[in-house]
């Protein structure tokens, strides 16, 4: 978990075009990531650090352009660490996929019509789960698959993760 979080932050830094000068460690039994800033302050927690990096890269639009948008982005960032970052999350992954599939039915991104940090962290968080899905399940969770395939093709998002192949054409016709 800890290593995954640190890899995730390193990938995010690259995506944002930040120079790799940040120092990270982890703390506690849960191995929470910690960023040591240059002025000696610690920033603790995956989402908190990720938001800090976005601001450092001056790409605030990834956090939402209005109060409503930023609330929705924060909502999915929280969902990500609660549902996909906790021990035992694997067992619940089907109900998580079901919820996300419903939500993404009429949306391009988690924020609706704009790319945000929520898409990037959700992509990292869902990757192992998508790798494990059967082709049939990838079709069942068709909206998640469409969104996932879109995000992994964006420049510089993929980074440390292997590409997941998602079929464009359905091979199972009776799946709902």
């Amino acid at each position: 978990m800890a290593e995954a979080a640190l890899k995730e932050l390193a990938s995010l830094e690259k995506y944002l075009g930040l120079k790799k000068t940040n120092k990270y460690s982890t703390k506690g039994e849960r191995k929470v990531p910690v960023l040591q800033t240059k002025d000696g302050q610690d920033i603790v927690g995956l989402v908190t650090i990720a938001c800090h990096l976005v601001k450092a890269a001056k790409q605030e639009q990834l956090l939402g352009r209005t109060r409503e948008e930023s609330a929705v982005v924060q909502q999915w960032l929280e969902y990500r660490i609660v549902q996909l970052g906790a021990p035992g999350a694997k067992e619940e992954s089907r109900s998580t996929l079901r919820d996300l599939n419903e939500y993404l039915e009429d949306k391009v991104y988690f924020g609706g019509d704009f790319l945000s940090l929520a898409d990037i962290l959700m992509y990292y968080g869902l990757h192992s789960c998508m790798v494990d899905l059967t082709v049939q399940d990838r079709e069942k969770f068709v909206n998640v698959s469409r969104w996932f395939s879109h995000i992994q093709q964006l420049p510089n998002v993929q980074q440390h993760l292997p590409r997941v192949h998602i079929m464009k054409n359905r091979i199972y016709t009776n799946v709902h």
């Binding site: 039994e29 609330a71 909502q75 609660v82 079901r98 609706g112």
Partner: protein, 216 residues
């Protein structure tokens, strides 16, 4: 905006306090604990806030932050950090402690399970020397932590049992805001912890979360 709450749900307290503090206009509807309000979620998640643009916020912390921050302020990293800690560390511990106190009548055990988290807050308040968690002004972080701790720490016996001076002063300072008073009076209606009983009986137990270490 429309806010959905369920009676005796401890997560609703901070949201009701945040609404009072923000002065935002909003209809509040009380529903049952099992009601599925958020259309895309397969299970009940309350409180939930329906925004004017049709989006749902379904986490008490995100709702509080939405109501109490104007966006883009310098303290947002500090507020975000407290909210993340509260979500992943304090909430599971507090739920476990509430279960012990309300369903099993083990109040001193409940307090012990909460002690490492309280100690973490105490040390942080002492270190910064600020009036509130992130600055000298009340923020979403204060309302969120206060709301989670209120059911446990407002029991007279429990607060005097912990020797955390900065925490006690902070807890009473936040609670003395008329908005917080109004929200807590409305939630508990003079019945104290017992008003949370029906909610707690419906929550699935998750022992791995509850026994997880909370701080460094």
């Amino acid at each position: 905006m429309r806010l959905y709450v369920s009676e005796g749900n401890p997560q609703c307290l901070k949201v009701l306090a945040a609404f009072e503090l923000s002065g935002a206009q909003c209809e509040v509807e009380a529903v049952s604990h099992e009601e599925c309000i958020v259309p895309f979620l397969g299970h009940s998640k309350l409180p939930a806030l329906l925004l004017d643009n049709g989006n749902f916020l379904f986490s008490s912390n995100v709702i509080c932050r939405y109501l109490l921050t104007s966006g883009g302020d310098e303290t947002s990293t500090a507020v975000g950090q407290w909210l993340e800690w509260e979500t992943l560390d304090l909430q599971p511990v507090a739920l476990h402690a509430l279960r012990l106190a309300v369903l099993q009548d083990k109040k001193s055990e409940a307090l012990e399970s909460l002690r490492p988290s309280l100690s973490y807050i105490e040390r942080s308040l002492q270190k910064t020397g600020k009036t509130f968690l992130t600055s000298d002004e009340l923020s979403a972080a204060d309302v969120v932590l206060w709301g989670t701790l209120y059911p446990l720490l407002s029991e007279p016996m429990l607060l005097t049992a912990v020797d955390f001076k900065a925490l006690t002063a902070w807890f009473q300072r936040v609670g003395s805001f008329p908005a917080c008073k109004k929200a807590s009076d409305g939630t508990f209606k003079g019945h104290g912890l017992q008003s949370l009983k029906s909610y707690l009986q419906r929550q699935p137990t998750n022992s791995t979360q509850a026994t997880r270490a909370t701080t460094d």
